[in-house]
Amino acid sequence: MKNNIQKQRNIGISAHIDAGKTTLTERVLFFTKRIHTIHDVKGKDGVGATMDFMELEKERGITITSAATYCKWNQFEINIIDTPGHVDFTIEVERALRVLDGGILVLCAVGGVQSQSITVDQQMARYKVPCIAFVNKCDRNGANPLRVKDQLNHKLGHNAVMLHLPIGLEGNFKGVIDLVSMKAIYFEGDNGENLKITEIPDDLMPSALEHRETLIDEASMFSDDLTEAALEEQVTETLLIEGIRNGTLSKKITPVLIGSAYKNIGVQTLLDAVTQLLPAPPEIQNHAIDYDNNDKEILLESTPDKPLVALAFKLEDGPYGQLTYIRVYQGELNKSDVIYNSRTGKKVKVGRVIRMHADQMEDISKISTGSIGALFGIDCASGDTFTSEKVQLSMLSMFVPDPVISLSIKAKDNKSEVQISKALTRFTKEDPTFKVTTNSETNETLISGMGELHLEVYIERIRREYNADVIVGKPLVAYRETITKRADFNYTHKKQTGGAGQFGRVAGFMEPIEDHFLFTNKIVGGSIPTQYISSCDKGFQDCMKKSPVYEFPITGVHVVINDGASHSVDSSEMAFRAASIGAFIEGYKRAKPTILEPVMKVVVETPPEFQGAVMSSLNQRRGMIVGSQDQGTYCSIESRVPLAEMFGYATVLRSSTQGKAQFTMEFDSYRPVPVSIAEELKKELELSKKKSKE
């Protein structure tokens, strides 16, 4: 790997689902001669795009994992991360953005700024990633790149300026006008590989001049030389590019390029823009936390002479063991180096160092400063920092959102159980948003993730990659029961039917409390002998596990015993335990029990035009709308909705908002269920009891 850091770019391609990221990446690889034939996403040739190497990705036409690849353009070395567009795989986007220096925001010329573009833009802003915009699909009916540029300004608050203008649009889309060189560029040849540069057609000249003036005006804000040149009307290409670059790096300008990846138009000019406008690694400030120095933030230097600081940003379990994707921020990482994992303090010897090209790999001797590569056989967790000395440096952590949806899974047979366990261990290690828990009440394995598609993909991967038979259950709602009023009990347990007799009387009352359970002994005069009090407590606690009414676990009960009776021969611990159970059942039925259900805090983010539809959908789900927050381009609606009503909501929301809204969900509290629902639950319970008897 040559070591000219100024000619290195680490870029990501992010966008809304189906905006054409993977197709664009495929064309980039073709024009940079990394691949020699073009395969389309869901292509008729059945090969599928090179970057979507996972079988499932090719089948569904979506990118699930962010594949890293490397290419060269005009002596520049470019590391590209193709990221998923679907919101459920948002951690992949977060991971990619964490290690990138610049981004290409791909937008659809027809769809414009879509909901996921907003999320991706927010993610880019969080990691301060400078970006350029590429308006793709200009050959489609209804394409309007200028409208998309306006949406970038209004919806995302960018200062977007056109760098290119289209020559023709929709079916007539032939090429682009470069507003920097003021030339028309046509893409000729079978795959658009031959660039024909000509003068701008006369009819497009006025529009080109007008947009160039805007471009110069905006760029001159970031270059005094350009301002002077503009005043003297002597703007050169170099000066203009410098101004635009300064604006882009400071995130004050978003240059907009246009094209159609599918029709091979505008890809080479986009690559030129990547090399000219996006930053080299030293131009981005990266910080690490120095644990030895009071958690002080220190600035990393992109030089090979400094001690190594590298971040493991992604793990992948492949056929040859664990593959660790790594970005070197400072120093160099050579084959056979001994490095330290700053989290565990363990020494690790670097074995194979490779450069990834989707699922292909190429052995290299080192990963230079600012570059991205992968290591084999390193045991670490995602987000670990590696250093060359035993220094306590750690890169700032990644934002990991909490999972929002759970499903129960079960193996069909013993063989599958082992395979599922292996798969779950691997997935949880690879993906911090994928969690596995066991429901202590039902003993079921629950998998949790960022959405239904997220979990669906993992279940499918368990089936395909691990050859395991999985039974996917309905997500279970953990209902509870509680009492709503004080009730007395006085129960005598008496058994004298042969053998040793049993006798015990327990009296007192129960009342609602906020805590889970409380037992108070107010017996005076020894009506229940002291040695049997703990048995009474145990008896009551046993009852809390399963209610005598609806059979859900009980919470919020204070039991007080204040009277009782015993027998010198027939009383025993067992007798008082049984008496307490009887007393609890007696009191519980009188204490007006009610079922509690988990209520979730649901926040829906939607464009304002769908606010009514979203509110209605929440209202129909017994949701209580707390409020709405208007942000101009989108609004968020906060509500409290019972978990039982939220299954399948993602699909409903997508269809009622044209896929433009998204929601997050987290546990809020337990609330009583309405009487009608309680009745239904009772019927269901009776039905399942009948079935189990049969």
Partner: protein, 231 residues
């Protein structure tokens, strides 16, 4: 809070709101940080306790912060009433009858507000009986908004309370209005000016169209920021 204190505010609110069924305007005027939002939230809470639906529109704070105001003020009321906690039923009533709408700075206009409101009313999700507008800046550009909101208040027959920020030396003698809002003074039926004094915070009531004879003297308790009547 003894009965005397709760009665005082409720009595005033009843007189003010009941006599303005056709869309009245009220303003809480104070300098920054004196207690406008605390006072508005108390007004809202007293209506909520009566199971009246309140729409709280905030132009400066996000939903969770507005919710915190309600939590905090209701806790203070609990403490003053010496109740251990507001019962779950009452809190449910508050939540069921309260709706919060927040708008980013410069995002608020009556067209959007009407749209949001009709999203709620047309689907039968929420019908406001009292509207609180907190954080609408007093400047010439917003005069049209006040006029439009007056029309809306009349259409919906609701009373709207506003918080209005005044400046130390720029308070007009007419109804305590900041000079920039004088052109719309006529829209307001009642104003409460909050004036911090050495050891207490006075609430001066000025009602242009309401008889305020026999009104008790009100103050804002500086410790609890709750309204109380001065005996």
């Amino acid at each position: 809070m003894n009965e005397n204190q709760t009665d005082a505010l409720q009595k005033i609110l009843n007189i003010i709101v009941e006599s303005n069924h056709d869309g009245g305007f009220g303003a809480v005027i104070a300098r920054a940080g004196v207690g406008k939002t605390a006072l508005l939230v108390q007004i809202a809470l007293y209506r909520l306790f009566e199971k009246k639906s309140v729409l709280h529109v905030s132009l400066k704070e996000p939903i969770n912060k507005v919710c915190l105001w309600y939590d905090e003020v209701s806790k203070r009321i609990e403490r003053t009433l010496k109740q251990s906690h507001v019962s779950a039923d009452i809190w449910d009533t508050i939540l069921m009858h309260r709706m919060i709408m927040t708008f980013g700075e410069n995002q608020f206009n009556t067209t959007t507000f009407r749209e949001r409101l009709s999203d709620l009313t047309e689907q039968g999700i929420f019908y406001p009986q009292l509207i609180i507008v907190d954080g609408l800046m007093v400047d010439k550009e917003n005069i049209a908004i006040f006029e439009e909101l007056k029309k809306l208040a009349k259409e919906l027959s609701v009373f709207i309370w506003f918080s209005i920020r005044s400046h130390r030396h720029k308070v007009s003698q007419i109804s305590f209005f900041p000079p920039s809002l004088i052109p719309v003074t006529d829209l307001f039926d009642v104003t409460l000016q909050v004036i911090p004094k050495a050891d207490k915070i006075d609430i001066e009531l000025a009602a242009s169209q309401i008889s305020c004879e026999s009104m008790p003297k009100l103050i804002l308790n500086p410790e609890t920021m709750l309204i109380q009547a001065l005996n």
